[in-house]
Amino acid sequence: MQTFERPKIEYTGISKTIAEIAVVVAKIAGPILRRLAWFVFFGVIIFGCAFVWAVGRFVNPLVPWIVRDIIVVAGGLGFVSLVAMVGIWGERKVSGHIQSRLGPMRTGGWHGWLQSLADGLKFVQKEDLIPASADQPLFRLAPYIALVPVICAYVVIPFGASWVFRDRDVSLLFVLAMLGIEVLGVILGGWASNSKWSLYGAMREACQLVSYEIPMGLSLLVPVMAVGSISLVQMGKAQSGGWFNWLMFQNPFLFFAFFTYYIASLASCKRAPFDLPEGESELVAGFHTEYSGFRFVMFFFAEYAAMFAVSAIATIVFLGGWNSPVGDATSGPLWFVAKGMFLVWVQMWIRWTLPRIRIDQVMHACVKYLLPFTMILFVGSSVWQLYGSQFIFYTRFILGGLGLVMVGLFLAGAGYGYVNRGRLVGRLARKHLPGA
């Protein structure tokens, strides 16, 4: 049997000190952490709750606004990077487990949690390559135009009643506008690459996103009309007090509007089955065929940040935002992130299950089915609000029960999969990685 030895790396100077400290810390903390994994898990949650509560109660009113803004901007940027990195790692793990593989298992120890950092480091080290015939300024500009608006969208997204950087009256419109600008970056990138495949990807993206913005906006108008405000904070505040107060369960039209919004948001994030702009079996890699290194990472980051952004809107507008399913809780932001991450996970689930739609079918689905349906929802919801007020009280429990049944079915399926994971995992994984 062949064995490969890793070359020994000689550390000197300060890196030697760091490496020694890291080894000592890992020796002591590693076994403890492993033994107390569950305590650490719940401890982090409890500590997070306490931190969230303390910041809202004591710190926020005291510090001057400029300091607070700087901290929030840094925290926001950190959060976006964290979301993207967790998303990339999660995508690989989710796809692995769906495909009876394990996904990354080595980098960083526990289930390869450092994998996306390692990926990022690899990309940063790569050669900065621009094709000779590319349009240099546009080629350099495009990734920024794709990434910056997505991060801007996080400015108005409320993580809790008081956890929002800028509470504006038009925050929902602002998020949609920022997500709409992302298209420009992709078109620029595809055009500037001067590659035919990139151009195809960019044109597909343009036609797909412009069409799906309409059903997306229409299905968001339904809850907007129900609340009477397009401020995300107002919408979140209107849904406190338990899961049956969430906007999704207020009337049947809102219930379906959630699903139409979710489908349209899949298309606007270029997620499968609408991933035509980068469909690898047709267009090699679509609009980022010619991109490599850090510029590619920016497109990648933008995609995952946008995934969480559209899920965050769905969470605030339909799923009660930061409100917990049972009464009020102080840990609002954690509930918010948990719901958003769940929706991101569903996006991944769909991606690794369904084949890709053809471009004409994408347009048919939008113009022939989704658009008329959302219009009906819009009209129906307004009629309901005019005449259906006496049913509302009972409707929310019926629809809420339906939602609970769906969650229950999902949990049952997940539990079945977990119990039978030994049967579902591949023979090879069992043979080569026992106990995984």
Partner: protein
């Protein structure tokens, strides 16, 4: 086939003064030789009008290795490994085709046990090859997961092959006069275990991919090849049967004890569109896997003791003359045409590769379709470039 009209140049363009300097023309796109969905080094030159394909011309020859010329310089027994490299996903069947051609010419009698072993391994390899075809067709359609499920099952077959002959891709197991060596102990039970595991999995693929609404929309009514067109272009194998022609050499001109087995020849019935569309060609492969499982089960039962190889001299000399012999490969009919002058090696060896003939229909199919349909058509023809170029 869904008619997509090609709009002529609007006359308005030529009227206005401003528009007079606007000129539109078709976009020429090179798909391949390095492209994810061309299954190797196929190059297709596409004439496109936006997303619409006006013409697609396949260009081949990037993997040419002079496999036929080499045969003139090596002895018959030395040539078996070269047949592995033609259709590298179905090396057992290639070995079988060459061995049968040489045996028929030299009048070599093959022992009974070897004949059943040949059937077992040819059919197992057919399953493995169809698994790759089905899985990578899902990949062409953008469904990544079925691909890995199929490769998970194929891995087991490859493990079985490894336990028999030590190789995982290029087996050279079926040689002239029989098979190279006997199966190891416990192989029969392992093989049965695999078949019991594999048969229900086919239903899983159908649930996940074959009957998926999106998948049907992508493949039904796309790339329709009617029966007369299929025969005219010389299609064979699943591509021909997908067009509704019931022609299978294992049934029509049985070789190697195939006449003893009870199995069906599935044909495309146009369930989700016209007969001979991509979905039919795909689904014929899925159904053939079930039939192969049936054949392997019967062959395992009939396996009797005895020698596994006839006595064949190391330097085999064939009598002067010529012979053409065809076998049913996973991709179609693989034919070997051997001209001998009575020496150690053939005077000329010509191979009829099924992928080569199947690929020729691409130009006829890919007219007025969308860009994404090209991937669907190439995938449904299931070409292996190693065999197209030889």
């Amino acid at each position: 086939m869904k008619e997509i009209e090609i709009h002529a140049q609007p006359d308005l363009l030529h009227e206005g003064e401003i528009a007079s300097d606007i000129r539109t023309e078709e976009l020429l796109v090179n798909m391949g030789p390095q492209h994810p969905s061309t299954h190797g080094v196929l190059r297709v030159v596409l004439v496109t009008d936006g997303e619409l394909i006006l013409k697609a011309t396949p260009h081949i020859g990037y993997l040419h290795r002079c496999a036929e010329k080499i045969a003139e310089n090596v002895s018959y027994r030395q040539y078996t490994p070269y047949t592995d490299r033609m259709d590298y996903l179905a090396a057992m069947n290639n070995n079988l085709g060459f061995a049968l051609a040489v045996e028929k010419m030299g009048g070599i009698e093959v022992p009974e046990r070897a004949q059943y072993l040949r059937v077992i391994f040819a059919e197992l390899n057919r399953i493995a090859s169809h698994l790759v075809a089905v899985g990578s067709y899902g990949l062409d359609m953008g469904a990544f997961t079925p691909f890995l499920y199929c490769f998970r099952e194929r891995e087991w077959i490859v493990d079985l092959f490894e336990s028999v002959c030590g190789a995982r891709l290029t087996y050279s197991y079926i040689t002239i006069g029989g098979v190279r060596e006997d199966i190891p102990e416990g192989f029969v039970s392992q093989c049965k275990e695999f078949l019991d595991f594999f048969e229900p999995k086919i239903r899983e693929y159908n649930d996940l991919l074959s009957y998926n609404h999106i998948f049907i929309n992508r493949t039904g009514n796309v790339g329709v090849c009617p029966a007369d067109m299929a025969i005219g272009y010389g299609l064979t194998g699943p591509c021909l049967r997908g067009s509704g022609v019931k022609w299978d050499l294992r049934k029509n001109t049985p070789y190697c004890k195939y006449d003893e087995f009870d199995f069906d020849v599935p044909v495309g019935d146009g369930r989700f569109g016209a007969v001979g569309d991509c979905w039919d060609r795909y689904f014929v492969r899925v159904m053939e896997m079930t039939q192969s499982v049936r054949i392997v089960r019967q062959a395992l039962e009939r396996l009797s003791d005895g020698p596994v190889s006839a006595k064949v001299p190391r330097m085999l000399k064939l009598p002067a003359g010529e012979i053409y012999f065809e076998v049913e490969n996973p991709r179609g009919q693989l034919g070997f045409y051997i001209v001998s002058e009575g020496g150690n090696s053939p005077y000329r060896l010509k191979v009829r590769g099924p992928s080569f003939c199947n690929l020729s229909v691409l130009e006829g199919l890919a007219k007025n379709c969308l860009l994404a349909d090209i991937a669907a058509m190439i995938g449904s023809l299931d070409v292996v470039m190693g065999e197209v170029d030889r």
